[in-house]
């Protein structure tokens, strides 16, 4: 066994102490008919060979492309200090801080994370972390139902489709209804949440709404009229859930200032690798009024018996190990190490740096918009955007595939992302961040121009 500690006679000594002759005796209670035969797995692989195998698999992924892919996960520069800190065993080989006297590091780091995200969102309470943006959004929606004792959730089609599908799965389980608010199909507001449709859905007295969920920016990169959506929700007695992207909050209005009761979203952009989808960081934040409904752990500041400042998990009566079937959620293991990554990232990059990250992404996206328009792919929508946009490309799927062959990962065809939106049949959702280079933009535009001109070059 590769990580086994035993010297030659250790096992014999243990067996002798127990008073048995073979470790098999310890498994005698497994009924004979149910005992397993040898597993059909390979023999142990020595580290040298295993390392080679892992390098080989990693090498089969192509991460050398000029990538314009966003759609909920974003390439950013992560200062080297972040991963250096995460590699400390003191962080990653500890567990949930059940014993606060020997866990002040993790506890204080979570308190700091809660505080940083509270400031970014301008909300009062931030949970210690949730699994990812999708599960966080689903839990946020369930919170609105518990708080209002209503059973219907309205979710904008501008929310990431994976989040909507996750929310649908959770709602189905809990016996709740999740209805989708359409997007405006055309005109200056095309691609944003249809406020008239929302008003009509909220007006149904037979089917009162617990919460309205909308994203800023939305899945098409567009900025939504969040204050109006919030006002409509509140006028109908519903809560307002904002799905946020945390880096954007350095420059965009924070949810706490436009009336959101809950903010949720994906924390991956805060220094967490793309890693094919995880481990990521689910953010859930809410107003003080909802603190007893928030799922997951909370860390509070307190003092020890000597009056020394210290941190501890608190308000645990919401949690599964105390409340069992009456808990606010079943969550136990969370994403603490990723919350730590986010804290170190934000602390290192600082308020000005985070603003630079968001604004540089916007600037690069302007450059991308102009270059693609010049190549024959103008923007599809008229509304304001931050750093992600849809461009019109006929036969977008095929063009996307051909661009891939030219070393360009041209975002994602909107027909793949939102197959039910006819208005998006011919589009590519593309993204730029501070790591996008002018050279990459020129390669993309050049390859696209060639493809649209008939595949020459």
């Amino acid at each position: 066994m590769p990580y086994g500690p035993h010297a030659a006679d250790d096992r014999a000594r243990m067996l002798e102490t127990i008073g048995i002759d073979s470790v098999d005796r310890l498994f005698d209670d497994i009924p004979e008919a149910l005992r397993a035969g040898p597993l059909a797995l390979d023999e142990p692989e020595p580290e040298l060979l295993l390392a080679g195998r892992l390098q080989g698999l990693a090498g089969r992924n192509r991460v050398d492309l000029a990538s314009f892919l966003g759609a909920g996960a974003y390439r950013h520069w992560t200062p080297a200090v972040v991963d250096q800190m995460l590699l400390r065993g003191e962080w990653y080989t500890a567990y949930t801080p059940y014993q606060p006297e020997v866990s002040q590091g993790t506890l204080q780091s979570i308190y700091e994370y809660q505080s940083l995200l509270a400031e970014l969102t301008r909300l009062d309470v931030v949970s210690a972390s949730h699994y990812d943006g999708g599960a966080a959004t689903a839990e946020a929606a369930l919170m609105t139902c518990r708080a209002t004792r209503r059973e219907r959730i309205l979710v904008s089609r501008g929310v990431h489709p994976h989040y909507r599908q996750t929310l649908e799965t959770y709602a189905e389980g809990a016996g709740l209804i999740a209805d989708e608010i359409p997007l405006v199909a055309e005109g200056p507001l095309a691609g944003t949440t249809d406020l008239a449709a929302l008003a009509a859905m909220l007006a149904d007295p037979e089917r009162p709404v617990a919460g309205v969920v909308a994203a800023q920016p939305n899945i098409l990169g567009l900025l939504e009229a969040m204050p109006e959506i919030g006002s409509q929700a509140h006028a109908a007695g519903a809560l307002f859930v904002a799905v946020i992207e945390p880096v954007s909050l350095a420059v965009l209005a924070p949810p706490g200032e436009y009336g959101a009761d809950i903010a949720c979203g994906e924390g991956q952009p805060l220094g967490i690798p793309l890693g094919y989808g995880g481990p990521y960081l689910g953010i859930v934040a809410c107003s003080d009024a909802l603190v007893r409904q928030i799922p997951g752990r909370l860390v509070g500041m307190t003092q020890d018996l000597d009056g020394k400042r210290a941190f501890v998990m608190t308000m645990r009566a919401r949690e599964q190990d105390i409340r069992r079937e009456k808990a606010a959620s079943n969550i136990c293991t969370n994403q603490a190490l990723l919350a730590l990554a986010a804290s170190i990232y934000v602390s290192t990059i600082g308020p000005h740096g985070l603003r630079d990250v968001a604004a540089t992404g916007a600037s690069r996206a302007s450059e991308l918009e102009a270059a693609l328009a010049g190549a024959g792919a103008p923007r599809l929508h008229a509304g304001a955007y931050l750093n992600e946009l849809v461009v019109r490309v006929p036969d977008a799927r095929a063009v996307h595939a051909r661009l891939l062959a030219r070393g360009v990962l041209a975002g994602i065809p909107t027909a793949d992302l939102l197959p039910d939106e006819p208005a998006l049949a011919d589009g590519l959702l593309v993204c730029a961040t501070e790591v996008t280079t002018t050279d990459e933009i020129e390669r993309f535009a050049g390859a696209l121009r060639a493809e649209l001109a008939g595949g020459a070059a």
Binding site: Y3, T93, V125, A253, S347, T348, A359
Partner: protein
């Protein structure tokens, strides 16, 4: 001397000084945001801390040293399987090809990761005796939710709408009943048998046309294998219900018992327990779910598909309409799964069986040695963990299990899980794992025996522990009554900074 560092730290907010930091990202053009309407922009900049990189480094290194952790010492936290985390796996997950891959990348550029995931599904299916596996759930509790939603979908697909109850033993993890609620079921709690196991008779009596499923942790939360599990599974299926196995304790039975082959319909794995992916101070974990043939059609989407030509792809949206849908965004916690994959390959079939053999041997050794000093309520052979009780000590001396746990900190150890499961008075759930040496276990046993003596001779010493830790016991009541859950810069320092 304290087993962890003793230098408490100011918060990053107290360390902040205007003008520090910077130098990471080029400045954008001044007009970068001019095209965005003013109403959508943030009016007041976020009041985030400003620190230099050296200060950030020192802050987080100093904070880290306040933590007890597996890399510095023995962490016998029952039910959590705090085994050694192999360093190769940290290296592997950080390979640029894995770490830099976008989750929406087309299948053609993700073949390495897709192959790894597909192979890992197969290995977990083999280990568990299940037909198929989803890697999507992010943690054990998330896997439980996935499993119960599939059970619900299964009954509905048969038009059997009356099954709204899930039977759960009172010794279960709290996640089990909490999950049942989230999945729309009513929890029926079944008292445990005197031997700490499932009360088969009580379970069988509670089974009926309203039972959707049962949730069993095997080995149980007191570390005992359910010897009559075959009977219970037969009764469950005879009642038309399905059986869920909470795989939290899988580390005890690798290569010895395959839940799917034995008749369980669905189970979750905790990769952060059994397959050594790091616990990260609370997470991330990962909670793959294995299912038998009855539930396979309902697995969450997307699954990894292997094409006839040997290439791999993800299922497309809507490709498998019987699926319960997504339980999270993107594929799953891939970085965690890379580590689990490496762990399984490093061990192979023989190594995995050795893992369980050694974990069970270690637990029985410690149990035998402690039996004279602490009560061991269940005498038969345990699996990878066991319960010791300080009930006698408490009645004699007033020293409680909580006090003993805190005193263990003074002796240099992380305490075991305490007061879980609640069915044992003053219980300590001790799980050594297979990666601890005999010397380490012996020293821990001596420490526990020493504390038992101290409880007789100097009970106040134990009751006031820890004495050698950066902080004493905490005021948890005030923390809950007057919650302070965030730093409010405007309010200034709320309590004196420790320096």
């Amino acid at each position: 001397m304290s087993v962890v560092g003793e230098r408490l730290q100011p918060t990053i907010f107290e360390l902040s000084r205007p003008g520090r930091g910077g130098g990471k990202i080029p400045h954008p053009p001044k007009d970068a945001l001019d095209r965005i309407p003013a109403g959508a922009l943030r009016a007041n900049p976020a009041a985030l801390p400003e620190l230099s990189e050296p200060e950030v480094t020192r802050h987080y290194v100093n904070l880290s040293q306040l933590n007890y952790n597996v890399d510095t010492g023995f962490y016998p936290l029952g039910s959590c399987t705090m085994k050694y985390n192999p360093k190769l796996n940290e290296w592997a997950a950080r390979l640029p090809g894995f770490a830099g891959l976008h989750p929406m990348a087309p299948d053609a550029v993700a073949q390495g990761t897709l192959q790894l995931l597909w192979e890992l599904e197969g290995m977990l299916a083999e280990i568990s005796g299940m037909e198929a596996v989803t890697l999507q759930p992010a943690a054990g509790a998330h896997g439980e939710l996935t499993g119960l939603l599939m059970i619900r979908a299964y009954h509905r697909s048969r038009g059997d709408l009356a099954r709204n109850e899930v039977l759960v033993p009172d010794s279960s993890h709290g996640t089990n009943p909490a999950t049942a609620t989230m999945a729309g079921f009513k929890t029926i709690t079944i008292p445990s048998a005197p031997d700490g196991g499932v009360d088969i008779a009580a379970f069988t009596a509670a089974l009926g046309p309203r039972t959707a499923g049962i949730m069993i942790t095997n080995p149980s939360t007191v570390g005992l294998f359910e010897a009559r599990i075959g009977e219970l599974l037969a009764a469950t299926h005879a009642a038309g219900a399905l059986a869920y196995m909470d795989g939290a304790n899988l580390n005890a039975i690798l290569g010895r018992f395959r839940p799917g082959a034995a008749g369980f319909d669905v189970m979750h794995f905790n990769t952060h327990k059994t397959f050594s992916t790091p616990h990260g101070g609370g997470g991330p974990g990962s909670g793959p779910v294995g299912v038998g043939s009855r539930l396979a059609p309902f697995l969450p989407a997307p699954r990894v598909v292997r094409e006839a030509d040997g290439t791999f792809r993800l299922e497309r949206t809507g490709e498998r309409p019987s699926s319960i849908g997504r339980v999270r965004s993107f594929f799953g916690s891939t970085g965690v799964l890379v580590r689990a994959y490496a762990y399984i390959l490093a061990h192979g079939a023989s190594g995995l069986r050795e893992v369980s053999d050694d974990a069970v041997l270690a637990a029985n050794y410690m149990k035998t040695r402690l039996a004279g000093t602490y009560q061991v309520p269940f005498e038969r052979a345990c699996k990878h963990e066991f319960v010791a009780s300080a009930a006698d000590i408490k009645h004699r001396t007033g020293v409680r299990t909580l006090d003993i746990a805190k005193r263990l900190i003074d002796k240099g150890y992380h305490p075991p899980t305490i007061y879980f499961p609640l069915i044992v008075e003053e219980g300590m759930l001790i799980e050594p794992t297979e990666t601890e040496s005999l010397e380490t276990m012996d020293a821990f046993i001596e420490a526990l025996i020493e504390i038992a003596h101290e409880a007789e001779t100097d009970p106040d010493l134990v009751k006031s522990a820890p004495h050698d830790a950066p902080v004493k016991r905490l005021d948890e009541a005030t923390a809950a009554r007057q919650p302070n859950l965030r730093w409010r810069a405007m309010a200034g320092a709320q309590m004196p900074c420790p320096d």
